[in-house]
């Protein structure tokens, strides 16, 4: 039945699409499986690492050092990296399905979740992900028209992304100068006139999604005072029950840190980071550009674990010239693949891709954010990928049967031939290493860890020196 699939003579051929954390951990789990496997890791950009390169804040160098683990995986025998190859552009889903025994989609989630309120299109209103991409040198994101001559910014959302944004906006540039932050961002931040940053969340401190570590870091920014209204920290019975639930691992430490912030007096002349709980944006007011945010006080209603924020009291007006929305990411459909509109993810069970009728799409898998939605930290993807690869390995008999019907798929040779026929070619991992090295050299000129290329053609040129 197995027809030798996964043996040294007939290795399993798998394409992993997307070289972020989920893609690397999927590749690693395949290489560790004991089955002979050829893993082709496809990435739309010339460089790997996904959100570790373009999402993790530049001042979190220790977190970014996980790329050393990914680089080791990339250089293992059995794996080949194909940079500059985008699904739906260089190669279609249908073509990939024909070229490989199995395809694991690890493309992450790229879209952002709008607030859906009046005034969201006004100049001065930005998506968090656009700002993150801007300071992380993501190609195409450098022209963000962010006006840092404004004195008051509102960040909507209370997760770690919101805190990252706040911390970068409030960091003295000397704190960022040695990182790999984009030079255009560093220059803009050096002239920032921001004096107040308001972090706004619909629900209470118990439901906040940030971690104690990120919350604590806010308090370390010189010249900024973190303010919390003690009234926001008075918990009702349902919130007390939620905070006491062992599943709420961060609630107690977050509360303790928030209480410490609430108790400290504001030093004279300090700039202000203010955390507002039980507050939702209602309207964004212009007319030509954002001038103020109308905020609706909220209260929590319902039993523990199922509390909902409902309006409570008259709206308040907060003058502000910048608003950054950070209320979650939302996936967009991938060409040729089913789509779960509700969560913006791929419909799947245990990592097996499902058709709209609920049947399994044989040979197709998913891991990472595109599988489970935009939540979790880097390490969450390792457990997620392990589950997906366990499903894939359990399906070996079906994958062998598919080979029996259609023959051995062409794998990486077939991919190279297809790209060649289109006048394109992939960049290997050595190219990615050359790009990174060139970026470190660029950065060294100004004392930075790296100055990442913004332009894809510059990356390609650095990858293939003449």
């Amino acid at each position: 039945m197995r027809q030798g699939i996964g043996s040294a003579e007939a290795p399993l051929r798998v394409a992993v699409v997307g070289a972020g954390p989920a893609g690397f951990y999927t590749a690693e789990a395949l290489l560790d499986s004991g089955v002979a496997v050829e893993v082709d890791l496809l990435e739309q950009l010339p460089v790997p690492y996904g959100l570790v390169r373009y999402g993790v804040a530049p001042d979190h160098a220790r977190l970014k050092s996980v790329t050393a683990v990914f680089a080791q995986i990339a250089q293992r025998p059995g794996l080949r990296f194909h940079g500059d190859v985008a699904l739906g552009d260089a190669v279609s889903a249908q073509e990939l399905g024909a070229l490989y025994d199995a395809v694991a989609v690890c493309t992450g989630i790229d879209g952002d979740q709008p607030l859906g309120i009046e005034g969201e299109a006004l100049p001065g209103v930005h998506a968090a992900r656009d700002l993150v991409a801007w300071y992380n040198s993501r190609p195409g994101a450098q022209d963000l028209a962010i006006d840092l001559s404004q004195e008051v910014a509102v960040i909507v959302g209370q997760g770690n992304v919101a805190i990252d944004l706040c911390r970068i906006l409030a960091s003295p540039v000397d704190r960022l100068r040695g990182t790999d932050i984009a030079e255009h961002a560093l220059q803009a931040l050096a002239h920032s006139r921001l004096r107040e940053i308001h972090l706004v969340g619909r629900r209470g401190p118990v439901q906040a999604r940030f971690t104690p570590k990120e919350l604590r870091e806010l308090g370390t920014l010189p010249g900024w005072h973190v303010a919390v209204d003690p009234v926001d920290l008075q918990l009702g019975a349902a919130c007390q029950a939620e905070a006491a639930d062992p599943a709420a691992v961060h609630a107690a430490r977050n509360l303790a840190q928030l209480q410490a912030y609430a108790a400290q007096p504001a030093p004279a002349g300090a700039r202000l980071i203010r955390l507002h709980f039980h507050t939702a944006p209602l309207r964004l007011l212009g007319p030509q550009r954002l001038r103020a945010v109308e905020l609706q006080p909220q209260r929590l209603d319902g039993p523990a674990g199922r509390q909902r924020a409902v309006p409570a009291g008259p709206p308040l007006r907060l003058p502000a010239g910048l608003l950054l929305r950070s209320v979650g990411y939302r996936g967009r459909p991938l060409p040729g693949l089913p789509f779960e509109a509700l969560g913006g993810t791929l419909p799947q069970a245990g990592g097996r891709l499902l058709e709209p009728d609920g049947s399994v799409r044989g040979g197709w898998y998913a891991a990472g954010w595109v599988k489970r939605g935009a939540s979790g930290v880097i390490g969450s993807n390792r457990a997620c990928a392990a589950e997906t690869v366990a499903s894939l390995l359990a399906d070996l008999p079906q994958l062998a049967a598919a080979r029996g019907r259609r023959g051995t798929p062409a794998g990486r040779d077939g991919l190279a031939a297809l790209l060649r026929a289109r006048g394109r070619s992939a960049l290997g991992f050595d190219a990615a290493l050359a790009i990174e090295q060139a970026e470190r050299v660029r950065g060294a000129a100004t004392g930075k860890a790296a100055e990442k290329f913004i332009c894809l053609d510059q990356m390609r040129a650095a990858a293939r020196p003449l």
Partner: protein
Amino acid sequence: MPHVVTDNCRGCRYTDCVASCPVACFHANEVRVYIDPALCIDCGACIPACPVQAIVEEFDLAPEQQHWIRINAEAAQRYPTLRNRLAPLDGAAALRQALGY
């Protein structure tokens, strides 16, 4: 600051933490696991993964738990790296219940 594995792990060794560690910084013996502080990148994925809340960031350690910093660092040198999940130890479920989780 690095994360450390404290008392609650002993006798449970659920190893859900190990499955979610992005840098393979866990080491294990027969009764529990430890974190190598030189490798931990502070991502925090292991904290919610642990069913008995044995893992704490160094900064959050209570005064009476400070000795776990040294124990983790030393044990990580002594015991082998554990990269993937193991079955919990016999009695882990009872211990977890006794710990109130």
